[in-house]
Amino acid sequence: MDGFPAELARVETDARSASIRVDSTLYPIDAVYGAAYVFLDRCYVLLDAPEAERVRVTLAWKKGDPTEDELRALVGEFTNELLSCAWRAQIAKESRVLIESATSRAIGGAMGPPSIDDLEKFDFTEESFEDPLGIALSWEEKYGKKKPGEAT
């Protein structure tokens, strides 16, 4: 088949099908499933593992007799979809922690303000932070009248 290495993609016009060999060390199996799923409405799709770390995807034309160009285009579309799925899987993997964090915060916020019971259980014993400039002092603490005997 023009444009692809012969050992990776093959078009069989008589069988109205095309097959693609995917290296599963380059493309995760979830990407193969994702790309195959997209083609279920147009093709009959069969996966096989003819050897270790290789997945063979067979796309059989559903209706009518396809030309060689149509089958070639099918292979091209599948490989593009495969790359897209692999890339999306990679992005999802890298940003999973961020997504989970944002989701849990959103759900936590949606639960509303804490109840009196929640506040009673809350541990307020944390030591105060350092405040060398006295920014956190109230006006009374800072400028109020000093009690007799209190150092200035």
């Binding site: 199996i29 499933y33 195959a36 799923y37 009959y44 799709v45 996966l47 096989d48 593992a49 059989a60």
Partner: protein, 77 residues
Amino acid sequence: MTELRFHRDLYRQAAVDEAVKALASYATFSRADEATHFVVKIEAATPVRERRVAGEVSNFALGLTVNARGNARGKRR
């Protein structure tokens, strides 16, 4: 007769079983499972019908496998 071979590493047995069950009324099915594959043999009245039923079984099995994997992943999280 058409023989479909579903690799055990790629397809779930429940998905293959369900696919065969769903299309049982359109052809005659027989199973001859092997160590590495679920093997489904299909016989229908005409070659055209046989090809179509075989294709639909493979799509059905793949779709159910993909859905089951997605559900399993969702439960693990």
